[in-house]
């Protein structure tokens, strides 16, 4: 195709795109205006119905708990797929450490960086557990807390070394957390069928709104998601770290 024809094609397509975009933008509601009835309704009834003070978590783990189940299995299958893709190939082998007993260390980690990361590991674990457990009360929940917990292990890698991180999170334990979290979510859902007559329906007492143990199955589902997400992210990073630090083409 000649340059002229390409330019003509681009100009035609760009004009059409600009017209459609302007047309679409002109029909948008005003900034901040919202016409959905569902969110307003949930806002009004959530504390009375579910005894959860964070409406978003109540929607995620109760009203639309089935959607979260789907999302969880999307993460699960994609991480399993990645682990299969990045497994050690026949033509690859492990890179031996340069000196005996030496760790595959993060190159260029200064003393200050190592001290700072080690100081941050503890608070980050506490924050992760707090966000996990207070999902029904304050913003946060299983997903956010789970990624925070996995990030704490990543700090161990930055501050200590890769093998220290692997010792703290053995492969089997990580896989168990991922699979157990995913299965646990499904099992709590099945518990809904057994005890309350519908999949993922709450079958526990709601308790007092605002207390740590309240909102029925929401905290349990949140913890299951936390285990699954932590496991998934640690597995993801371990596979990438294996590839970057240890495996070499033989």
């Amino acid at each position: 195709m000649s340059e002229r024809a390409r330019l003509g094609l681009f100009l035609g397509a760009a004009t059409g795109m600009a017209v459609l975009l302007a047309w679409g933008m002109a029909g948008l509601p005003a900034f901040g205006a919202f016409h959905g009835a569902y969110a307003l309704l949930i806002d009004h009834v959530v504390v009375a119905q579910r005894h959860a003070t964070d409406a978003v978590t109540a929607v995620n783990f109760d009203y639309r708990g089935l959607d979260t189940l789907g999302e969880e299995f999307i993460l699960f299958t994609s991480v399993v797929g990645l682990a299969v893709l990045l497994r050690e190939q026949r033509s690859e082998r492990e890179r031996p450490p340069a000196r005996a007993g030496e760790e595959h260390r993060f190159q260029g980690a200064s003393c200050a960086l190592r001290t700072l990361t080690l100081l941050l590991v503890g608070p980050l674990v506490v924050l992760a557990l707090y966000v996990d457990s207070h999902g029904a009360l304050t913003p946060g929940g299983g997903f956010q807390g789970g990624v925070l917990g996995a990030a704490a292990l990543l700090l161990v890698f930055l501050g200590g070394g890769y093998l220290t991180m692997r010792r703290l999170s053995p492969h089997r334990l990580v896989e168990l957390a991922e699979a157990g979290g995913a299965a646990g979510y499904g099992m709590i859902g099945v518990g809904g069928i057994v005890f309350a007559g519908a999949f993922l329906k709450n079958f526990l007492g709601y308790g007092t709104a605002g207390e740590l143990i309240s909102a029925g199955t929401i905290p349990l589902l949140s913890m299951a998601v936390a285990a699954e997400v932590s496991g998934a992210f640690v597995l993801l990073w371990s596979e990438f770290l294996d590839q970057a630090l240890i495996v070499r083409r033989g």
């Binding site: 964070d54 990624v147 990030a151 992210f233 993801l236 990438f240 770290l241 630090l245 033989g250």
Partner: protein, 93 residues
Amino acid sequence: MRELQAALFALLALGGLAVVLTRDPLRQALVVGVYGLLLALLFFALQAPDVALSQIVVCTVAVPVMILLALAKIHGGEHDEEDRKSSPEGEPR
């Protein structure tokens, strides 16, 4: 509040441009982390703290780490090739 939101929208437009205009992938990984943090601030200003929390951890920790590790693997692979070329027998070590 409206002013804060408008300022963040403008900053995000600039940030997106900065990500695209950074050509070195290593720097790009860091710039995209900063962009993600700005996006989290916008979600916070729009009163969506749940989404902001997810955004902070995913876009400033998880994604840059994966990009950096992928880059490390690519560069490590190049070193392997160099090793093979420089070893006297031409055999992989």
